[in-house]
Symmetry: C2
Subunit: 394 residues, 2 copies
């Protein structure tokens, strides 16, 4: 299992050696220069910078440039990059009827509609196998899809509510543009600031299932649209991208800070999983959660105050009821609170997550194609043996 | 790396232990009862039957039932299953304008259009996370998508050529139905026989990238539409599903049997990879290739004769030029020849492959949800260290 022979050497779906841990937990499937997640140290990186520091001190476009190009932009690069991504924001007029169909289809789920829209945009833009195009064309495809994803989300949402899409304002930075495209109003600068911190901090985070999906699909030589469409599908699963709105539903259910303790003890007593707490890798604080708490606190408002009180209570109850587990709030706990305070409707929480994570997916696609190797694991047959003769049909 | 602790225990994107072989080659990521690939023995199974025997002696619906339900059907089960899958074949009238848009969009690629169509069909059919629906609903979704995939391919193809979709004939078995929906004419029984052998033999084959993609996406709790959309994307990569038409292009290039030897020696001399030869797992004969050669031979025709002569020549040249490699024709070599002889246009070769493989994908989705574990591997950071302080923007 350790040796890279490049060939399967035995039976069983090409399996050799021992079984990998369930879910491939901890199995290193690739090397990456895009980032690192340091669970024990409670931090994560984008390239060779601390991701939280980047989230605090840089713009979304700066970090996007860092991941796509390998370095933070200087002034001239920043201006050029901003113009380039803003140039992809105009929605082609002949795409609107297609989006209108998706938005008018019942049932409507914005992430599912986005999946279909991205797949179609890739077709009509002529995306092709990266094996068949020059490298700069794949880079252009990546820039286009990551720039257009928030535009598509906003257009689908507005159309579904019977509103026309808002024409993009190319002068706006990316985070402000997203809020503008949703509401049609120039957004409050503090909300832009808060949303930008959320978006930057969620661009990338190790080989999560959607990122891994994008790399598996890319490894076959498929076009970028195939990779991003697949990644959106993976993100739509509640075990991956589907939880931020559930935290707000939990806060609704708790109702008021004084009810948090009884609610939490009852939930633990029933054996329920409490949404927004605990993390696979971070055993101490999730650094994204700490940043989002700060952001929520700066924004203020009753939901933020309430959420902070609930977090403190739940952490205390969990420490008492599940000693030794060190269960802390994860990124999902405050993500919904911050997005809510920024005026983003609950049904767009996961699509908004997709609007930043698509930058990460595209970065991984660009990295995967350099030194590509088809990703094709093995399975072990666990059924009846030996093979039986096929009976004649009766 | 071997121990399943259920948790990552160290740094580096949750990585622990040594790196897995590149591309996860030979790494056992799951146990399956759906099938086995026995490379050294030159055979593969669907459940506990030899897949080639099934392909010879059973109908597509029988094998579909075997994979979905765990056993070959008796007479009553067969009749019920046939009626059930045929019942999904009618194309809803209000879906046709959507397909018309996809078919009329330039550039048109039928597999890309199918990706978008499947994504949309799943939305409008109300597919939801399998975590949120009863198990029999996921089963119904699987039956629907696998039954409708060939219908969608045929409709998209006809619409693209300016023809209206053909209304399904529910009395036809699946393989005959596909040819009927493509041409609008009741197909020649020998072509149906040949196509059915091809379709059965390509339903499943280990943890290939599209099947693995479907399982990764499903592991997040995503709906079946997300899994199949992602799988189609993976299949669209030339390194996975994209080769059958290239073999016919190679035969065109060779031109006549007497030119095969010179052509093959020149290709080897240039270091070119010869399409349709060699296999990752099968070091002897690819059992699917042997079956497809028989089928092509039975169908007869000049292309089949030509292909068999070319195969014999290329195998001989490769044995001389690359001794010890034992390079034989793989399934792709005859797949295109058989599909061509069945009247399937070249641009539909990979979509036709998708029309049988979708049964495999759906079978794997149904298996994945029983005892699901999120599939989330790790990556090793390979960039500059230690992390640098974030410079102020200039």
């Amino acid at each position: 299992m350790m040796a890279d022979t490049g060939q399967a050497t035995s039976n069983g779906n090409g399996a050799s050696g021992a079984d990998a841990p369930a879910g491939l937990a901890g199995v290193v499937v690739a090397r990456t220069r895009l980032g690192d997640v340091r669970g024990l140290e409670g931090c994560y990186q984008y390239r060779h910078y601390d991701a939280i520091e980047l989230s605090r001190h840089r713009t979304l476009e700066d970090v996007w440039h860092l991941l796509f190009r390998g370095h933070l932009p200087d002034r001239a690069e920043r201006d050029a990059f901003r113009r380039q991504v803003a140039g992809y924001r105009a929605l082609p007029a002949d795409l609107v009827p297609f989006l209108r169909t998706l938005a008018a289809t019942d049932p409507f789920d914005p992430l599912t509609a986005l999946r279909t829209a991205i797949s179609f945009v890739a077709q009509r833009s002529g995306f092709r196998s990266w094996l068949d195009v020059p490298p700069d064309q794949l880079y252009e495809n990546a820039l286009q899809l990551s720039a257009q994803t928030p535009v598509l989300i906003a257009a689908l949402y507005r159309l579904h509510r019977g509103l026309e899409p808002v024409a993009a304002d190319p002068a706006l930075p990316a985070a402000a543009s997203y809020l503008y495209l949703l509401s049609g109003e120039h957004p409050d600068p503090q909300r832009v600031w808060a949303l930008e911190r959320y978006l930057i901090s969620t661009i990338d985070h190790g080989f999560n299932p959607s990122t891994f999906t994008a790399r598996v699909i890319t490894s076959t030589g498929a076009d970028l649209g195939a990779a991003v469409t697949g990644a959106i599908g993976a993100l739509s699963g509640p075990l991956h991208g589907g939880a931020p709105s559930r935290v707000l539903e939990m806060l609704d259910d708790i109702g008021s800070p004084d009810r948090a303790e009884a609610w939490a003890r009852a939930a633990v007593g029933r054996g329920d999983r409490i949404m927004g707490f605990g993390h696979r890798v971070y055993k101490g604080k999730d650094p994204r959660s700490a940043l989002m708490r700060e952001v929520a606190s700066t924004l203020g408002g009753s939901t933020a105050e309430f959420a902070m009180a609930v977090e403190d209570t739940i952490v205390r109850v969990l420490a008492e009821e599940k000693p030794g587990r060190a269960l802390n709030a994860n990124v999902e706990f405050y993500a919904g609170v911050v997005m809510d305070a920024c005026g983003i409707p609950r049904e767009l929480f996961t699509p908004t997550f997709a609007s930043s994570r698509v930058i990460g997916w595209c970065s991984h696609v660009l990295e995967q194609v350099s030194g590509n190797r088809l990703i094709r694991p093995a399975a072990r047959y666990d059924g009846e043996a030996p093979p039986q003769p096929v009976p004649a049909a009766d």
